[in-house]
């Protein structure tokens, strides 16, 4: 239950940081904003490590870790760059819908790869989530058409 609440709060924080990032990008540029983001994040992590007295780096066996496991940060940059290409091209409502759909499809696929079993509940649940988002997107779309 703690994890469920934590995951929801993390999602809420994503929106908060997206808005702040957009404002920063407006002032200094998208990549420049991303740079500031990573610097601030890095400083914060280092402070956390000092406060919580993290054990030395020799406690982790770096050579046991596959190279691709280090690439999460790089994918993040692809996401930032890619979003900049598509966001001006399609209406925001559809961007959200398609990105969310992609996330859920990938989630179900990755869970299948990791656990080696396909879960009917996740597919049905995933379909329902996409349906719910699509339904609300339709209301938003009607609303924007009216204001136009």
């Amino acid at each position: 239950m703690v994890y469920i609440i934590l995951a929801i709060i993390a999602g809420a924080m994503v929106i908060l940081s997206m808005i702040i990032n957009a404002k920063l990008a407006n002032k200094i540029g998208v990549l420049q904003g991303t740079f500031i983001n990573y610097v601030a994040g890095l400083i914060f992590v280092l402070i956390l490590m000092l406060v919580f007295k993290t054990p030395g780096v020799e406690t982790i066996k770096l050579n046991n870790i596959p190279v691709w496991a280090f690439c999460g940060g790089l994918i993040g940059i692809l996401i930032v760059a890619g979003s900049n290409v598509i966001i001006p091209k399609i209406p925001a409502i559809y961007t959200t819908l398609f990105i969310f759909t992609g996330q859920i499809i990938a989630g179900i696929t990755l869970d299948f790869i990791i656990d080696d079993k396909i879960s009917k509940g996740k597919i049905i649940g995933g379909l329902l989530i996409v349906l719910g988002i699509a339904y609300n997107s339709r209301i938003d779309k009607k609303h924007t058409e009216k204001t136009k």
């Binding site: 940081s17 956390l48 890619g82 992609g102 049905i124 649940g125 609303h143």
Partner: protein, 140 residues
């Protein structure tokens, strides 16, 4: 065409969350956060150099625009530990629910200088369907 591109970005987001979670299972919470931010920072620097972009501070920037990176640390940390207990799909789905709820709250009150866009009660149906989907996911 751009629609497929948008779906691909969604796929990348989930892949990133999963890969970061796997790294976390090897290194522990703090070192994974450290590695993720160092790799990301190096990546941005390379892109900035290759595209020959400079960082200029023409105008005064309010301090709170600089702290979004610290929020990011919390998000990555939370995802890393949730994925190991909840699995990928459920972590991502709960995150989406959190995003939708937060977006509605910000729009409704016009927080953070956003335009006020009142919440329509009809949208509770969509949120309800999403929650139902998450319940189906967690029960199975």
């Amino acid at each position: 065409m751009y629609q497929i591109f948008a779906i691909l970005i969604g796929v990348l987001i989930t892949m990133m969350i999963t890969i970061n979670g796997i790294l976390d299972s090897y290194t522990g919470n703090f070192y994974s956060l450290l590695i993720i931010h160092i790799v990301g920072l190096l990546g941005v620097i390379i892109v900035l150099v290759v595209t020959k972009q400079k960082i200029r501070f023409k105008e005064k920037i309010p301090w709170y625009l600089f702290i979004s990176g610290t929020i990011g640390v919390f998000v990555v940390f939370s995802n890393n530990i949730c994925i190991q207990t909840l699995g990928v799909t459920l972590t991502v789905s709960l995150g989406l629910l959190g995003q939708i709820i937060m977006a509605y709250i910000i729009d409704n009150y016009g927080l953070l200088g956003m335009k006020v866009c009142r919440f329509e009660n009809k949208k509770l149906i969509g949120v309800g369907i999403m929650i139902l989907g998450i319940i189906v996911m967690s029960i199975y």
